[in-house]
């Protein structure tokens, strides 16, 4: 086994991208907050509570991006068996779960004053919860497998199959005539006020950039985990570990 290199290839490029993304996100978050709380008009029927939408929808987009990337990298991993692809799939799944957690928390907080209930068996809500459970299971399975390669293979299959829930979530409102609002024109809704649409685009862009920033950090974590494993082997070969007396 070769000894670990000092720095993996592409580290400098990755560092620069991370810095650029960090600066962009740091600038865009206050701009988003200004847009949400100062610039955007209050929605006529729901009132101020509708402003939850500007973090709820972008979180859903970032969550779906995580799930989609996990499925893509899982498929590529099953084909190429490249550890880097597995690392990317794992990182995407973790971020997908984190953003979907935000969706599942903010959704009921919006629903309580608007629908009168925290949760209902509505199709979009249920299918989103199923997606969260699938990828939470993916993360638990990753932690609990004895054989990492076998675990990576099983998880790649879950990551690939689980993503089939995303189109179900998207079309559930039409297929089962759900209660969930169809706000965007692309999803069959009536569209948004121009200011609202601008704020939503801005917030969505910020969340996608935040997702990419966190993805780079999470991939770095995975690389460090691999480095620890290979260094442990090297260190044990050179100076075997002895239990303290």
């Amino acid at each position: 086994m070769s000894e670990p290199a000092e720095k993996p290839p592409g580290t400098a490029w990755s560092g620069l991208t991370e810095q650029a993304l960090f600066v962009l996100v740091a600038i865009l978050v206050p701009v988003c907050l200004h847009a949400i709380f100062r610039a955007v008009p209050t929605e006529e029927k729901m009132g101020v509570v509708q402003r939850i939408f500007y973090f709820h929808v972008p979180s859903a987009l970032a969550g779906f991006l995580g799930v989609g990337l996990c499925a893509l990298f899982s498929a590529l991993y099953l084909w190429r068996r490249d550890r880097r692809l597995d690392l990317l799939a794992h990182a995407s799944a973790e971020l997908g779960v984190m953003f979907l957690t935000i969706v599942l928390l903010t959704g009921p907080i919006w629903a309580r004053p608007v629908w009168g209930v925290w949760w209902t068996g509505e199709a979009r809500l249920t299918s989103t919860l199923v997606l969260w459970l699938l990828y939470a299971g993916y993360l638990i399975l990753r932690q609990s497998t004895e054989n990492p390669e076998q675990g990576a293979r099983f998880c790649a299959v879950i990551g690939l199959v689980g993503a089939l829930d995303v189109p179900i979530i998207y079309y559930s409102v039409e297929w089962w005539r759900g209660l969930h609002p169809k706000v965007l024109k692309v999803s069959g809704g009536q569209g948004l006020d121009a200011e609202m649409a601008k704020a939503l685009t801005l917030c969505s862009t910020t969340f996608i950039l935040l997702f990419l920033l966190l993805l780079l950090q999470r991939v770095r974590l995975g690389r460090l985990q691999d480095e620890v494993e290979s260094l442990t082997l090297v260190a044990n070969r050179r100076a075997p570990y002895t239990e303290p007396a």
């Binding site: 009132g47 939850i52 973090f55 935000i102 928390l105 903010t106 974590l221 442990t232």
Partner: protein, 81 residues
């Protein structure tokens, strides 16, 4: 004593069958400031939830990164690299 005509049950069922009162309509939002205040409470709760989830994840990520970086440094010292 049980009412054979269930006369007391009927109004109760009617009450249960009513739509939940949401309060958020254009008219009563304008007329009742407590509705706006209630909306602000939920808005505050939602944004707190978003920031808490993000903060917890960032903290966990940075702690894991720091722990692994320390482990790498220790292992390199042990291996004489």
């Amino acid at each position: 004593m049980i009412d054979p005509n269930f006369s007391s049950v009927v109004p109760l069922l009617a009450l249960l069958a009513q739509e939940p009162v949401t309060g958020f309509t254009a008219e009563n939002v304008a007329a009742r400031p407590e509705i706006v205040e209630r909306g602000l409470r939920f808005l505050n709760l939602a944004y707190t939830a978003v920031w808490v989830v993000l903060a917890v994840y960032l903290l966990s990520l940075s702690l894991r990164l720091r722990r692994l970086a320390q482990q790498v440094r220790r292992l390199k010292e042990r291996a004489g690299l």
